[in-house]
């Protein structure tokens, strides 16, 4: 239980699969509490003996199946079975014990489905359950829900309206939530891809600078390799000292492991991993080291760049800091035209494109900039109005800013 509460508290750090597991565990907890509290009481209702045995048996069977799926790390299947169990309970209550509880339980089951925050699951199970509820209220209102003497025609309508309204409002909630999430996700990914690209440009740039200064990149620098060997040896020795029971002893000579790490640079690591021949430990090390190679835009460089970003002085501009659409940045048309001028000149005169050796060394031609201004991707920077202004004054742009 303590673990469960801790997981809820730190749920933002869990992966989607872990969150689903957490949710299924919680639903199972509620299911158990709910089943234990309500099923025994329903024995006093007017049911046939078969139903009295069948319902608890089915309940515990579905509960067990849910638990087993969760245990064997199939949280999605467990989620479906937890919903089936609640739907079963709802139908049992509505059809059998009825009254107000069944109606109430419709909302609880819808809430369980909402709890999983999955729009397709909500539409399928929630839609079916709501339809069933609406149909049931229409056909059996007087028998189970009762009517109110003052306004008998109003009672089923209120029941139906609120149930349908609840379903539809949450459907709207899901649609809004999904569309916003998709937009934000896209925005996040765009930044992530931009960082990835800039990182790769910076790695290439720094290597070129090294060669032009007649020095070598990190992975070809003997001093750097020696430093890595010395530090690794020291850490391993210390780890062995701290706790002799821990299986820390290196299986292979650490210097050889470090040599192998540097050997992998500038090589096709996948070929080494996939090669049919060759020693198996080499393949294992190659696979594990592949993400840490310094000449690849992989995990080690991501960590290094993220870390180094802490030492980069942040920009002091706070006004609309992350906006990039010219219409969002400037309300005045005069400023927008100046911004367009800047954009064109920057693209024409600054080095922003790669040459055939993958170096950041090429500027864009007028035709390329024109194509870019007209492209769909560019709508995140300028509007159609801005593009038309550029096209109408293309000659002037080329003459003064090219």
């Amino acid at each position: 239980m303590k673990d469960l509460i801790l997981k809820i508290k730190n749920s933002e750090f869990l992966s989607p699969a872990e969150v689903l597991r957490l949710k299924v565990s919680l639903v199972m907890f509620f299911l158990l509490v709910f089943g234990v509290l309500t099923i025994p009481v329903s024995f006093f209702e007017d049911f046939a003996i078969g139903i009295r045995i069948l319902v608890p048996a089915l309940f515990f069977f579905l509960f067990l199946v849910t638990f087993l799926f969760l245990f064997f790390d199939k949280p999605r299947l467990a989620m479906h079975f937890s919903i089936y169990t609640f739907i079963g309970l709802t139908v049992y209550y509505i059809d059998g014990a009825g009254q107000f509880y069944g109606y109430f339980l419709l909302f609880i089951t819808l809430t369980i489905i909402i709890f999983y925050q999955d729009i397709s699951t909500y539409i399928i199970y929630g839609g079916a359950l709501t339809t069933y509820g609406l149909y049931f209220i229409q056909s059996r209102t007087e028998m189970y829900f009762g009517t109110d003497a003052a306004y008998p025609e109003l009672t089923p309508l209120i029941y139906q309206f609120i149930l349908a309204g609840f379903f539809l409002v949450f459907l709207l909630y899901f649609i809004l939530s999904d569309s916003i999430n998709e937009k934000l996700n896209e925005e996040y990914l765009k930044s992530e891809k931009m960082i990835e690209r800039c990182r790769s440009l910076a790695i290439k740039q720094s290597e070129d600078i090294e060669y032009s200064h007649k020095t070598r990149p990190y992975y070809m620098d003997v001093k750097f390799e020696t430093t890595v060997k010395n530090i690794s040896t020291f850490i391993i020795e210390k780890l062995e000292q701290y706790d002799s029971d821990r299986p820390l002893k290196a299986e292979y000579d650490l210097n050889e492991v470090v040599d192998f790490y540097f050997f992998l640079h500038n090589r096709d690591v996948n070929r080494i991993i996939d090669a049919e021949e060759g020693p198996s430990p080499a393949k294992i090390y190659a696979r594990q080291f592949s993400k840490f190679l310094l000449d690849k835009n992989a995990e080690m460089n991501t960590v290094i760049f993220d870390f180094l970003s802490c030492f980069v002085k942040p920009s002091n501009n706070e006004f609309k800091r992350f906006r990039r659409h010219i219409d969002e940045l400037f309300s005045s048309k005069t400023n927008r035209i100046l911004a367009l001028c800047f954009l064109y000149k920057f693209l024409r005169t600054e080095v922003t494109q790669l040459d055939k050796w993958g170096r950041l060394d090429v500027t864009m031609t007028h035709e390329e900039v024109k194509q870019l201004f007209q492209s769909k991707q560019f709508r995140q920077f300028i509007s159609f109005e801005g593009m038309n202004f550029f096209l109408q004054n293309e000659r002037l742009f080329r003459k003064h800013l090219g």
Partner: protein, 401 residues
């Protein structure tokens, strides 16, 4: 005065948190519009219900006015953000108004069926997905529900003599609220975290672009000539104004941009009396000697054709880079840390040599938690002197390069 690493990070964090806030508020405004639409539908149906129930004109008017007030409140905050910036306040007031309306309808109609209007109110208020209004929503549902169940149990009686058990109703309500509360807690925490991550990644994006700029300026000797930009913009706008036959309104702005590099805001306002502080603040984004804003935008624009987002990327699980992969062997984890550490201590185009204090300071930041295996980190923290010694010895040796 140069800021320390922690101050740098704190400043960046404040900026990215502001971005997270502004994103949240932007989307909440859109949601406020949808809440208004839903309430307009509810208003029509509530009036019909009250009419069938033969409620008094006064009662109908009060309930209708309340719904209309909530709709107006949401539309005002949606449409006029400059005058009504605190959309979170609008969300909280809406929650309050919705439960007041529900309570009014329950007390007016006094039938079991109307009790569930509380659930509908909950659903409408949940659309905002915001912390304060969500807490209020859960508390209001629970307490209003409890008041009705315990204070007015007779409301649940029907003509057929069906009387639901009060304790049962309470258990149902409790389960219902508990599930919704936990669900919204998890959802809002994750949403908030994502908004924060979004702000942080944008800040990081600027910084990595800065690294590309710095490498070009410091090593490739290609400095950015802002004077050239102003001159070219001036000749462009002069001919453009001449071409369309109007006065050149751009020149003064370009002059202001030139002055912005040297004068402070006060002096600028004294010199250019036709401009307000707001005008200058907007124009300052185009200033090129001190401000890199437009250079970031232009560089992002230049890379736009190479940034491709696929559906697969959209739905793949996000990962966070680390040197601490539990499936990696010990040697690999240790070598990875050693490479990382040696990198930080080596002076190269990508970085200056970073001190151990600075490394420890950054490692203590929340976003780097879990980056390195705790045992390796422990060795590092307990033996920093030895690490410095190794670095000094290794770099002092002959050879290499």
């Amino acid at each position: 005065m140069a800021l320390s690493v922690r101050e740098n990070m704190e400043y960046s964090q404040v900026q990215s948190d502001k971005e997270a806030q502004s994103k949240e508020i932007f989307y909440m405004r859109r949601k406020a519009f949808f809440v208004s639409v839903v309430l307009a539908v509810v208003l029509v149906l509530a009036v019909i219900a009250l009419y069938i129930a033969e409620a008094s004109i006064a009662s109908m008017a009060i309930h209708s006015l309340l719904v209309m007030a909530i709709i107006a409140l949401n539309l005002l905050f949606f449409r006029f953000p400059r005058f009504f910036p605190d959309i979170k306040l609008a969300a909280s007031l809406t929650v309050f108004g919705l439960y007041l309306l529900s309570l009014g309808l329950i007390l007016e109609l006094r039938v079991p069926s109307i009790f569930t209007i509380l659930f509908l109110s909950y659903a409408i208020a949940a659309i905002y997905q915001e912390v304060r209004s969500s807490i209020l929503n859960n508390i209001a549902l629970f307490f209003v529900g409890m008041i009705i169940i315990f204070r007015f149990p007779e409301f649940f009686h029907t003509d057929e003599g069906i009387t639901p058990n009060t304790a049962y109703l309470f258990v149902f309500l409790l389960v219902f609220v508990a599930l919704l509360a936990i669900s919204s807690f998890i959802l809002l925490k994750r949403k908030r975290y994502f908004f924060k991550q979004l702000g942080r990644i944008k800040e990081r994006e600027h910084k990595v672009i800065d690294t590309v700029f710095r490498l070009r300026e410091n090593y490739a000797g290609q400095s950015f000539n802002h004077g050239d930009y102003y001159d070219n913009m001036e000749s462009f706008t002069a001919e453009f104004s001449n071409h369309i036959g109007v006065k050149d309104v751009f020149k003064e702005r370009i002059d202001i941009l030139r002055d912005m590099g040297e004068l402070d805001a006060k002096k600028l306002l004294e010199k250019y009396t036709d401009y307000s502080i707001g005008d200058l603040r907007e124009l300052a984004q185009l200033e090129l000697s001190k401000n890199r804003k437009m250079r970031y935008v232009a560089f992002q624009a230049s890379q736009a054709p190479h940034i491709d987002i696929s559906k697969k990327d959209m739905f793949s699980e996000r990962w966070y880079p680390t040197l601490n992969h539990h499936k990696d062997s010990w040697e690999v984890q240790v070598v990875a840390f050693a490479v990382f550490y040696a990198f930080m201590k080596t002076e190269k185009p990508l970085n200056r040599s970073i001190t151990d204090e600075e490394i420890m300071e950054v490692l203590s930041l929340e976003e780097f938690t879990g980056l390195i295996h705790p045992s390796i980190l422990e060795v590092f923290y307990n033996n920093t002197n030895k690490f410095v010694e190794i670095i000094e010895q290794s770099f002092a040796k002959e050879g290499g390069q």
